[in-house]
């Protein structure tokens, strides 16, 4: 797609939540309106798995098993997001990465010179300690571009459904 406006590259942060699907729908609508390119990434949170090994809640084989599960989850979500894009004539390049979520997202923003990061509504604060560990919050704090938090899934779905494909 020919980029039309000043916002050329949108990065969509897919985290395997329902909220990230709304973010994808909004991102697709926006990309279509302004003619921006859009990419989506999912990061397998290996830090969390390591944390569980360290706490001895997980054993190694379990860590590997869950890592595979998270990878499959990520692929499933990315495929779905790409499908949502195709349905509206938007090609979304997807990438599954393993690592520290906030670092990987920030790195992709730099690498791809992203103008806008789009993500779903944050989880409620789980606990005082979890605020520090909440990857979505860390992404917002560390991203060196503007961040759009998508809310109201119902309304977003209406926006997405209203996109006319010519």
């Amino acid at each position: 797609m020919q980029t039309k406006g000043p916002i050329k590259r949108i990065l969509l942060y897919v985290d395997g939540s329902e909220e990230c699907i709304a973010a994808a729908q909004f991102g697709i609508a926006l990309a279509r309106s302004i003619g921006a390119e859009i990419r989506a990434i999912y990061v397998v949170n290996v830090t969390l798995l390591k944390e569980l090994i360290k706490a001895r809640i997980f054993v190694k084989i379990e860590q590997m098993d869950y890592e595979q599960d998270l990878e499959q989850d990520g692929e499933r979500y990315l495929n779905y997001v790409a499908k949502l894009g195709r349905a509206k004539g938007i090609e979304i390049k997807t990438e599954l990465i393993k690592g520290v979520v906030n670092k990987e997202v920030v790195q992709k923003i730099d690498e791809w010179d992203v103008d806008l990061l789009i993500m779903g509504e944050l989880d409620p604060i789980l606990s005082r300690t979890n605020t520090y560990h909440d990857e979505a919050e860390l992404v917002i704090r560390k991203a060196k571009c503007s961040v759009l938090i998508v809310k109201n899934a119902e309304k977003v779905e209406q926006i997405y459904n209203a996109i006319e494909v010519t």
Partner: protein, 150 residues
């Protein structure tokens, strides 16, 4: 999802009646069944016992986290058991276990499952939280302690 959202007064017992590992796991499973999220008790029990076979989930500081993913769970199902006197759960430090966070997860919920387990790890890393929870006189009080810590 908060631990206090997954637990209720119905799924917490502040004085476990069983004193052995298998008995405690079964008692906790019975509590988790009350959530209505576990379809097949035998399948769920086997999943937890199979996980314990790999290595005991008895950690340090009197905490144990028996858990498993199982096709028998339709959603995350949690229970909490407390033993004032403590019992042998083959813990990592060889000391008696007092707090038992029991978690069953569907096979397709790796993300939320991992997040809840990490939350348990973080909360129980605070000795004062563990001490307060051990001393809880009722499920209601235990739930309040968890809510306060969250």
């Amino acid at each position: 999802m908060r631990l206090s959202d997954l637990l209720s007064e119905e799924t917490i017992v502040v004085s476990l009646s069983h004193k052995d590992k298998q008995g405690v796991i079964e008692e906790l499973l019975n509590l988790a069944m009350k959530t209505g999220k576990v379809q097949d008790r035998a399948v769920a029990l086997k999943a937890v016992l199979d996980r314990e076979q790999l290595m005991s989930t008895g950690l340090e500081r009197g905490v144990a986290v028996p858990h498993a993913k199982t096709k028998s769970a339709m959603d995350l199902a949690m229970a909490l058991g407390i033993s004032k006197e403590g019992l042998d759960f083959q813990s990592a430090d060889g000391k008696p276990s007092h707090l038992f966070f029991f978690l069953l997860a569907p096979e397709t919920a790796a993300g939320p499952n991992v997040k809840v387990l990490a939350q348990i790890a973080r909360l129980t890393s605070d000795p004062s939280f563990c001490k307060s929870l051990r001393e809880a006189a009722s499920p209601k009080e235990a739930l309040e302690i968890i809510k306060d810590a969250e």
